[in-house]
């Protein structure tokens, strides 16, 4: 079953989404790098559970 785009919120635990896989993690690293010029580390992804946590890491690295 596909996740509806509107059903993803900042508190969503992305690992529990049906589509989540290590490939999606790489796509997120690539997208964040392209849009924000920020490199997320493997640990940044591994230590995060929600979309808010990823946002906070990207935000802190943008402002560095």
């Amino acid at each position: 079953m596909e996740t509806e785009p509107g059903s993803i919120h900042e508190t969503t635990e992305f690992r529990n989404l049906e589509e989540w896989s290590s490939l999606i993690a790489l796509m997120i690293i690539a997208m964040v790098d392209e849009k924000y010029d920020v490199i997320l580390s493997g640990d940044d992804i591994r230590n995060s559970n929600t979309i808010q946590e990823i946002y906070t890491i990207v935000h802190s690295k943008v402002n560095q």
Binding site: S22, I39, R46
Partner: protein, 353 residues
């Protein structure tokens, strides 16, 4: 900063050989990957098929075949070849060095320098820097750089994080002392703090091979692999590659005051499409100048750069002068960029063994 240029050495020819046995990813059965997931893997990695060596074909066999055909096409006399370097992480034996076996098998003179270099994805760039530097300093007239890997022998078929990605290949590059040669420029780097990101753990002396080494261990996502098989930390390697590869290429260009416009083509280590495209966009390289052989051969470790040159540029390499920007990055962690100007070199279509 390991940035330097080497003069008076030119590439005269290049060939590549792959095993004829191959696997089409969408037809492969890999644990934990159903058909729809495999289609996603193929879409993201850009790897449609990969060639796998059967048990009786080693890296040295692929390099031997590439070298024999190249020497023949060049019409070189074998006694003039005074240096052969074998770059690989899949040698015939732990010892002796495979380069000595190849010296004998190729029928080269015993008055020949031969040694191995254990480097993977950055191996072609590192190997070129070593053979070119030795030939430039010694004025040795002719040399062979044999680069390749049969990494698939180290991969678990039950490991979806590696099996769809890797293939086998061996290549041969012929070099000659030539005072008219264009300079080769290099920028080489290493960060051993990442040595566990890509590793075959057991079988060396730090962690010797035991019965335990053969036992498959289970990991997330249905992955099964033993300690004598290849482990790859996809996320760590991904963000290493998208930051270090573009920076390395920029560094190499800036120390020679070059820009992206100075190159006819770019051939970077073929890792996967998502990673390679991210690197391409960061360097603002036009898609038509950035070559891929990934779809046909996958990631062939040290062989990707010469294999892609031969597979994608064979006609142009033999018919005109080309200014090439090359970059390898991976296991070590190790990375490096180089410029190579070729002028009507001898090539053959990719050989299948």
């Amino acid at each position: 900063m390991a940035d330097f240029s080497i003069s008076n050495v030119a590439v005269k020819g290049m060939t590549a050989c792959v095993p004829k046995d191959h696997v089409v990813n969408t037809q492969a059965s890999v644990a934990g990957l159903d058909t729809s997931e495999m289609l996603k893997v193929v879409a993201m990695t850009g790897i449609d098929k990969h060639h796998l060596s059967p048990p009786h074909i080693c890296t040295s066999d692929l390099c031997f075949e590439a070298a024999e055909k190249l020497i023949d096409k060049l019409n070189w006399s074998k006694e003039d070849i005074e240096i052969v370097i074998f770059v690989s992480q899949t040698p015939d034996y732990i010892l002796p060095m495979t380069s000595a076996i190849l010296q004998q098998r190729l029928g080269l003179s015993t008055r020949c320098v031969a040694f191995d270099m254990s480097i993977g994805c950055s191996g072609f760039v590192y190997g070129m820097s070593v053979i070119a530097a030795m030939m430039s300093a010694s004025k040795i007239k002719k040399g062979l750089l044999l680069v390749g890997d049969t990494i698939t022998k180290l991969i678990s078929k039950q490991d979806r994080s590696t099996f769809p990605l890797f293939g086998d290949a061996g290549t041969a590059t012929a070099l000659a002392y030539d005072e008219a040669a264009h300079e080769m420029d290099f920028s080489l780097s290493t960060d051993g703090s990442g040595h566990r990101a890509i590793i075959v753990h057991d079988g060396g002396q730090r962690s010797p091979f035991t019965e335990q080494s053969l036992l498959p261990q289970s990991f997330e996502g249905g992955i099964e692999r033993s300690q004598q098989q290849l482990y790859l930390n996809g996320m760590d390697v991904f963000n290493f590659s998208i930051s270090k590869a573009p920076a390395s290429f920029q560094q190499m260009m800036s120390f020679k005051n070059k820009t992206i416009d100075a190159f006819d083509y770019f051939v970077f280590h073929q890792a996967n499409k998502l990673m390679n495209e991210t690197i391409r966009k960061k360097l603002k390289i036009e898609p038509t100048k950035y070559l891929y052989s990934l779809q046909k051969y996958g990631n062939t470790s040290s062989a990707t750069i010469p294999l892609t040159l031969v597979s994608e540029l064979q006609e142009e390499l033999s018919h005109r002068q080309l200014s090439l920007g090359l970059c390898g990055f991976g296991v070590g962690l190790s990375w490096g960029s180089m410029t190579l100007t070729t002028d009507h070199i001898v090539t053959l279509p990719v050989i299948e063994l």
